[in-house]
Symmetry: C2
Subunit: 355 residues, 2 copies
């Protein structure tokens, strides 16, 4: 049997060539199919009120007859706007930022925006690159968790791309949503001390990160409020493996700590690993509190006490703040929103009665 090829409609009466592909339909294709002008198609598709319902109908039909999909690129070029938000965070693998990302995408999506995800890995160079990409992509706005206090966002300002900084403030004045790291850290450490732990240590992040420093300061404040307590501090890189190393060193000191305040969730896991190596039992041999509530924290043995940050809401609010400032292009003064973390006492920080 001979095959029976279906007839193919070709634009502009071109001849079919071997391997020729049907061109993607444009607004013009639709216009021809509907017997109207491209302008009318545009109006019909965008719900412009000044257009006859009958034409709208005809255009709609024609549009999905030819399988038309609006070209967002062309639209963006013409309107000079984009429906995309860039999200720059250190690491999507950190559950805190995973939750933030979820918050940002949820809020963005609700208003028709999509999210460009960029991991900066606490690397200033990567951060710069991603910022440049975001600028060239003409994203509508940027949600940024900056690597340090001096990240340069002047280019974004020039391009009039609004920025909301999260988690860590910038030296420069910008919209920002931050969490009271100092207060959270102090509360956690005080709690440890109140429980009777006598040598609480702090495992914090790199000194470049504002949150790492704030959490360390909170720890110090609590320590100083109780005379006679030593400060035992280690800086790690906010990552699990780094914390294991740091904790080992602390544990190898002549006078090792008997409790830990750890500055984020991945490092909490890393510290727990070091503890396990030494057969130190959390909640009896050592006290333990970490920053950031992770899904697994309640299910550890014993359950881990944490300073919980409102990560998802933080992401949502950041995105909303951004989109709000998109609607009001007028220069407002920067808004700074400060959220409070919550100390959730589970069992890891509790000290059993001496026996």
């Amino acid at each position: 049997m001979r095959s029976n090829p279906a007839p193919v409609v070709r634009a502009r009466g071109e001849m079919a060539t071997v391997g020729e592909v049907t061109p993607t339909p444009t607004i013009k294709t639709v216009a021809e199919a509907a017997g109207v002008s491209p302008a009318s198609v545009s109006r019909a598709l965008n719900g412009n009120p000044s257009i006859a319902p009958e034409i709208v109908e005809r255009v709609m039909r024609a549009a999905d007859a030819v399988g038309y999909r609006p070209n967002g690129i062309a639209r963006s070029l013409r309107t000079r706007t984009t429906k995309v938000i860039a999200l720059l965070i250190p690491d999507i693998g950190n559950p805190f930022f995973t939750a933030v990302a979820r918050g940002v995408t949820d809020a963005a999506e609700a208003e028709g925006y999509t999210v460009l995800l960029c991991n900066t890995d606490e690397d200033p160079e990567k951060e710069r690159r991603h910022l440049a990409v975001a600028e060239q992509a003409r994203v509508a706005g940027v949600v940024l968790s900056p690597q340090g206090r001096d990240t340069d966002i002047s280019r974004l300002r020039q391009s009039r791309i609004p920025v909301v900084v999260i988690d860590r403030p910038l030296r420069e004045k910008t919209d920002a949503i931050v969490v009271r790291s100092f207060a959270g850290a102090r509360a956690a450490t005080s709690h440890l001390i109140d429980q009777g732990w006598s040598r609480p240590a702090c495992v914090t992040g790199p000194a470049s990160a504002d949150t790492a420093r704030a959490r360390l300061r909170g720890y110090r404040a609590a320590i100083r409020e109780h005379s006679g307590l030593p400060e035992i501090v280690a800086h790690a890189d906010f990552r699990q493996e780094g914390a294991t190393l740091a904790a080992r060193e602390l544990l190898d000191q002549p006078d090792p700590p008997d409790a830990f305040f750890v500055a984020n969730a991945p490092m909490a896991l890393g510290t727990l690993a070091a503890l396990a190596e030494r057969n130190l039992r959390v909640g009896s041999d050592v006290g333990f509190v970490s920053f950031d509530d992770a899904p697994w924290a309640p299910y550890m043995t014993p359950p881990i006490s944490v300073v919980a940050q409102p990560a998802h809401p933080l992401g949502e609010r950041a995105a909303r703040l951004l989109m709000e400032s998109l609607r009001t292009p007028t220069e407002r003064r920067p808004r700074r929103i400060t959220l409070s973390p919550t100390l959730i006492v589970r069992a890891s920080s509790l000290r059993p009665p001496r026996g």
Copy 2:
């Protein structure tokens, strides 16, 4: 002292108006500043060989004198290409997909692409919407973890946007990277049985998800290889809370299970919660294995045995496969890559000697 305002260069000799904003520099601005044609600027900036080094130099200077940033939108419209990949996954909160996302972004970034992140929440409607958005954004390609076997990607095909399907295959023939779920599930369940657990249950995902079904089939296969063992099955929604509910029901049956094979990490946590409620101790009262290695799994008490998927490599390979097919626009036959998971035996699945 009078302030001494710096002179402002204005394009096209416009008068300064109150509140006037400097227009973002374009290739034209640079051309004027450098005293060459826009075409030369374009060529210089894109490293076109046929252009005098001296001009290149002059253009470069002019470019950053006026603070020029290429407009990616315009470039995309002109070249009909984009450097963005859309990533559609059920939930970035699931550590498996977090790792996949990290893999995709890492590989994409290495070749100058960026990643559009979309959560589908196992919702066909959301999936459709995101697919449409990706199409309109004219993304270069799509990495998709489809909600079901019948997700419609014909529109993408028409638009000649390549798709790599991950984790779950489509009925349709496409590039795909999957993991041997059946084999992994069977190995996990067999291991449980070998350890002497006599009533292993399976908590799997929604029947719509291919992986949920494959893992269930793997469980069943193992059960049937050992006569006399009952099949105890619950379907949940791949989420933590859903699994808690499902596990409770299983536990409330007259003949409750004495071991669990759980189909992903969030549900593992949910199941552990139900177990904890009943004071059932994992590794002594009940056996436990779950799919997906999570960062916390080794640090639970006891450490959780898992079927580890190569999540990060999977993401990397998906992105690379996509970008490869971007380079070879010729129609190749679909590639299907199958990765093997690894059973990692820790303590949760081990059965203590009867005593």
